[in-house]
């Protein structure tokens, strides 16, 4: 029998405080695509980083085509034929495409002077192979998200690796682009390359993989072979193991639209180049979803509702009172809080602890009779929300940078709950959050709705909106193009995606403006 292309035996890896890998065995044959799936922190990226030589394993052996190897740094991995596209961006913004693709692999004339011409030709060749035309002299910071991802892949492909690791490459790509990429990946596989694919979108994974390796808690717990019959549910079940095996939460009771109180009303709200003529009303105890593609203007609409940016024209009413916010604090004072889509940069102070992050927006209400901070009250409240939202943290004094993505997201939400705001805007509530935490966050949002709060939720995952929202507004090119209500027949994923994509063809020019 032929030796496997890559064989890992009993790999262990420990980081300060975390056992990331606890004895992983793994093999990759030539001409196969193996996917790694698992909740956040299950050990997928750690494993791929070990293969790529980013850090060494604490124990275990690595064989490449039967040869026992030590991959002590990325350069050696490269020489052994390992190419990797990392989950986090690994491009240097101020350098050109060609400089990035050839970073640390430069071609030189007489070993000193760079051979820029040759490098350009080679880069163009790789990009062409990937089916993209990108100006290789452009600086990476001037590229679109899609182009950046392609450059990352080109960088990994440059030395024609035998083993290619793709860690979360499809996130910024749209359906057509993903399809295109998958075609290339399959071609590569057919030419004998071994490919490790890591992702969160299970549908994609079932579509592309020859085999699915499921990780849980630093171990690989099983292998699934995709077939007609394999469903996402089965994969999730294996990922979550005994922890949880229930269906996704689906919407709570739909409130009757009768005599409900209006809390937010928009009339003709517009902001040049971002959104146009937005009209809608939000009621007390309601969750309204916003569906649309990246760049459709939803994030900016949310920002203008909280006062991060100001809208140009139109009217906005909060509980019947006309308002126009100039600063987020105006929005907060009027009772509107926002969970931003980039929680690490906009939602949290990573170097502060859990209690301070929860309390940061409510400090004025946590004062004692001397008008100074009431630390006991602060601790009590933080503790209350940590418990209520089942935030997993050793204590309320833990630094939030040490918590997982899901728990960080809950802290951002807790921050606004403590402030007791009536309207909460949530942009991408479960970005980078694993399945288990997702469910908890859904429950949390629905619970708040039942407590009489009103929520606006935006998400690129339509299914997420379907499971929690009472109605969904579909946005395209900065305009509301459709509205669907729960318990109607249009309230399903296929119809909504169709609406979005068909509108997309009509307003491509508008999109181009947003992206440019």
């Amino acid at each position: 029998m032929q030796e496997p292309l890559l064989l890992l035996k009993n790999i262990h890896k420990q980081f300060p405080g975390v056992k990331a890998l606890k004895g992983v065995n793994f093999s990759l044959e030539k001409g196969k695509i193996v996917s790694l799936v698992g909740t956040n922190g299950a050990g997928k990226s750690t494993l791929s980083n070990i293969i790529a030589g980013i850090y060494p394993p604490d124990a275990g052996e690595i064989f490449i085509e039967g040869r026992n190897v030590t991959i002590s740094d990325p350069k050696i991995a490269e020489q052994l034929g390992v190419g990797i596209v990392h989950q986090e961006p690994t491009l240097v913004p101020n350098m050109t495409v060609v400089e990035n693709i050839f970073l640390n692999k430069e071609i030189t004339k007489n070993r000193i002077v760079l051979d820029l011409k040759k490098m350009k030709q080679e880069s163009e060749k790789v990009l062409e192979f990937l089916g993209f035309q990108i100006d290789v002299d452009k600086k990476v910071e001037a590229l679109t998200l899609v182009e950046k991802e392609i450059v990352e892949i080109a960088k990994a492909m440059l030395l024609k690796p035998r083993i290619l690791i793709l860690d979360e490459v499809t996130a910024p790509l749209n359906k057509d682009e993903v399809d295109h990429l998958f075609k290339i990946i399959k071609d590569l596989r057919n030419n004998g390359m071994g490919i490790i694919f890591i992702g969160h979108k299970l549908q994609e994974i079932i579509e592309i993989s020859d085999s699915i390796m499921v990780f849980r808690d630093g171990k690989n717990v099983g292998e699934l072979i995709p077939s007609e019959n394999l469903s996402e549910k089965e994969v999730i079940a294996l990922m979550l193991g005994s922890i949880l095996n229930e269906d996704l939460v689906t919407g709570a009771k739909v409130p009757d639209s009768g005599q409900r109180q209006e809390v937010l009303k928009l009339a003709g709200l517009s902001k040049q180049k971002l959104f146009e003529d937005i009209n809608f009303t939000l009621h007390k105890g309601e969750i309204v979803g916003f569906a649309g593609l990246k760049g459709s203007g939803i994030t900016e609409l949310f920002q203008s509702l909280q006062g991060i940016i100001t809208f140009d024209s139109g009217e906005m009413y909060v509980k019947g009172k006309r308002v126009k916010f100039k600063h987020p604090k105006d929005g907060i004072e009027a009772g509107i809080g926002m969970v931003t889509n980039d929680r690490q940069r906009e939602g949290l102070a990573l170097t502060l602890d859990v209690k301070d992050n929860i309390a940061v927006s409510s400090l004025n209400y946590l004062r004692n009779k001397f008008r100074t901070l009431n630390t006991k009250l602060l601790k009590d409240n933080a503790g209350k929300y940590v418990q209520a939202l089942s935030i997993k943290t050793p204590s309320i004094n833990q630094f939030v940078q040490n918590l997982s993505g899901g728990n960080q997201q809950k802290i951002v939400i807790a921050k606004w709950l403590l402030r007791n705001l009536d309207i909460i805007l949530v942009d991408e509530p479960t970005r980078g959050v694993d399945v288990k935490a997702k469910n908890e966050i859904y429950k949390l949002l629905i619970n708040e709705k039942n407590n009489g709060k009103s929520l606006l939720v935006a998400s690129p995952e339509t299914r997420e909106l379907l499971s929690i929202c009472d109605r969904i507004l579909i946005i395209s090119g900065g305009k509301i193009i459709s509205e669907v209500y729960r318990n109607t027949k249009e309230f399903n994923e296929e119809d909504i995606l169709n609406t979005i994509h068909s509108s997309q063809r009509h307003c491509t020019t508008a999109r181009a403006v947003f992206q440019g």
Binding site: I54, L91, P93, E99, L103, N104, K105, A512, Q515, G516
Partner: protein
């Protein structure tokens, strides 16, 4: 689609873009014109030479500082290095040469011999201390702001100890004043040396792998590490070169004033950072060009010269320099945003 829209706009941005991309040169030219209008002696030999020697000293510091800033660090020790490296070199040279019976210091504080070995030691000491900065920063993982601030104090303290607080005279040291005062084809030799160093650094950054190493280390350290680049090594190198250029600047300074004193160069670390910032090097690392820093050093020195020729009080001078720094940094940030 995106590229289409930008090319449409490209048509009428050209003149504005030209100004934006060549802002430093334009400022330099405006200054020259201003200088000629405001003072009849501005273009006189003595004055030009005085500008050039200052440009050489500040420019060298700024080139070293720029390299350090490109790898996303900062070097506050360059000023103190300008005093320490010659003082330490003279103390060491005295030890070394007295073993062979040559006394290089006469009459308590006149240096009279050992020029060659002193120069070699200055370069050696400055490069090594620079690298020591870098090694502490990458190994102990302490921010460079703190390490080099500490080094600033350590070096100036050691300068006092080694010199006893006395100035050293180089007036009786043969050849000591040549670097500070020799003129070749109407241009001070030290300025030619500075240009040579500057051009060498520019060429190396542009045409060899070193440039990519430096820019990637500062631009996205993780990306560089993931590409197998030893970013620690390049940081140490950047600090070594920064130290070395401070050493060369010290040689020019001491040769010009034919003396070595414990306070020489104090405060120059901030000027070097200011020049780098005016030249478009950012504190976020991986961004900016050495050529910008070189032009910026000329801009600053010419501005100082003009202000002193027209006899403006120092109070206004400092305000003008401050405004230039803020203006230049905002302009760079603005032009990045709009490009």
């Amino acid at each position: 689609m995106a590229s289409e829209s930008s090319s449409i706009n490209g048509g009428f941005i050209v003149p504005a873009k030209f100004i934006k991309n060549n802002m430093l040169i334009i400022i330099l030219l405006l200054e020259l014109i201003m200088g000629v209008i405001l003072s009849p002696v501005f273009l006189g030999n003595t004055n030009v030479q005085s500008i050039l020697i200052n440009t050489a000293i500040f420019g060298l510091l700024a080139v070293g500082q720029s390299l350090v800033m490109l790898v996303k660090e900062i070097d506050l020790s360059v000023g103190a290095m300008m005093a320490f490296s010659p003082i330490a070199a003279i103390a060491l040279a005295k030890k070394i040469l007295s073993a062979s019976g040559t006394e290089i210091i006469m009459g308590s504080n006149y240096v009279v011999d050992g020029l060659f070995i002193i120069v070699v030691l200055v370069l050696l000491v400055s490069a090594l201390i620079g690298m020591l900065n870098g090694i502490i920063i990458v190994k102990a993982k302490v921010p460079s702001l703190i390490v080099t601030l500490g080094m600033l104090y350590v070096l100036s303290g050691m300068s006092y100890i080694l010199s006893g607080g006395y100035s050293l005279y180089l007036t009786n040291l043969k050849g000591a004043k040549s670097l500070g005062s020799s003129i070749f084809a109407g241009i001070p030799v030290n300025f030619i040396l500075f240009l040579a160093v500057g051009v060498l650094v520019i060429l190396v950054l542009k045409y060899t792998k070193v440039g990519n190493r430096i820019y990637s280390t500062g631009g996205n350290e993780k990306a560089a590490i993931y590409s197998g680049i030893n970013t620690d090594f390049w940081k140490v190198m950047a600090f070594g070169i920064s130290g070395l250029s401070a050493g060369i600047a010290a040689l020019i300074y001491s040769s010009r004033l034919q003396s070595v004193e414990t306070i020489q160069g104090s405060g120059y670390e901030l000027i070097s950072i200011a020049i780098a910032v005016i030249g478009g090097i950012t504190l976020e690392g991986g961004r900016g060009k050495i050529s910008g820093a070189i032009i910026a050093s000329a801009i600053l020195c010419i501005m100082l010269n003009i202000l002193s020729l027209v006899g403006l009080i120092a109070w206004y001078k400092t305000i003008i320099i401050g405004l230039i720094i803020i203006g230049a940094a905002s302009q760079h940030a603005f032009s990045r945003k709009t490009s």
